[in-house]
Point group: C2
Chain length 223, copies 2
């Protein structure tokens, strides 16, 4: 039984890594579609979402089965319930990729408003945060999770910078730019929401690791 449970936990790890890879890929492609003005990439993000939704349900079901079958205690139980939360966050990240792809489809066929500089930077921060957050869960690494939290202000800063530029330098000066500028502004906000989801994951990981420490090793609280 012990061996089966360990194997089932390893399976869960693999599934979550897969879910994470799908979510990361969806974000990457949605921004590629925008950068390259490529309709087909944007559409592939939209079409791929069903597969990700199905994987989310399958992982959720696996977690419930794991708990019901093995009745894991403390640390393992917390790993599984945190896995369920990650699973939801990753599915939401993939949903946001669809939102970005749909906004991209709106701007791709219109004249280019401005060269994209900060938006790809924000996308890179978002992808790094998602990747690091998933790794921190798999490794139960609090320091790695804290690195994610430390990146969030940079994401906020980039979003505010992009928003300020679009509103003040475009929309408030030339009303005809508004319909296009609004799409870029929304994409920046979507990317920042991806960073928020990565932050949620990192907080869950820190909570998962420290709740056990606090409960079972209160003397380590000083660390």
């Amino acid at each position: 039984m012990e061996r089966h449970f360990d194997e089932a936990l390893k399976d869960l790890n693999t599934d979550i890594l897969r879910m994470g890879a799908f979510a990361e890929e969806a974000i990457y492609k949605s921004i590629e579609a925008l950068k390259k003005c490529d309709n087909s990439i944007a559409k592939s993000v939209v079409n791929n979402d069903k597969k990700i939704d199905e994987l989310e349900l399958a992982i959720d079901e696996k977690c419930i089965d794991l708990i019901a079958r093995y009745q894991p205690m403390a640390k393992d139980l917390r790993f599984i319930t945190t896995g369920m939360k990650l699973n939801t966050e990753l599915e939401r990240i993939a949903d946001i990729a669809v939102d970005i792809a749909q906004r991209a489809l709106e701007v791709i066929d219109k004249p280019i408003l401005k060269p994209l500089i900060d938006l790809p930077k924000l996308a890179a921060v978002a992808q790094m945060m998602v990747k690091t957050a998933i790794d921190s869960f798999i490794k139960g690494d609090v320091d790695m999770a804290k690195k994610v939290l430390l990146s969030d202000p940079e994401a906020d800063r980039l979003r505010d910078l992009i928003q300020k530029e679009l509103v003040e330098d475009y929309m408030a000066k030339d009303a005809s730019t508004s319909p296009r500028a609004i799409q870029l502004l929304l994409i920046a906000r979507f990317l920042e929401r991806v960073c928020d989801h990565a932050t949620n994951i990192a907080e869950d990981v820190i909570y998962m690791v420290q709740a056990e420490v606090v409960k079972h090793h209160p003397e380590r609280l000083r660390q």
Copy 2:
């Protein structure tokens, strides 16, 4: 033990209802602040968020303890894990109320752009959806949960209507309206996200009820 477990489940119900009431109140107040141009209401939403975050952690901890202590099977386990999901959704709704309150603080001291008509309508839809979603969980009522799903297109419609009006009738015509219009546009999008969270809750409830039906009474699948 059985009696204790039932009491613990009732406690969990009460906690989630409380969390739901806080989330609903936060949304209501954030829109009141905007409608009445009242800074103090907006600030109270921001300041109240810490209390809601603490309740979220407490509920989460209770759920883990319930699973670890009573090792509930099938139906009860699924009720608790769905409760954990609801808890997260409700905390996110409260976070969005803070976002709305912060946007409201940006527009309150500026000249009024337009009378608010559709935004309060969208807020009413959002509040109704959240309330109905929580009720559907407490009662395990799939029909009620489906009512929530049926309201989501109306929320999308109102958001699109608000966005279209703000962009086409204000921002694209008079660039000086952009900085104010953008805040109202973001508030409409925040409200629609509240509806998305209510939809997530409703889907979780349907899944919670039907997963048991599918697993244990496949003959009822036709219903």
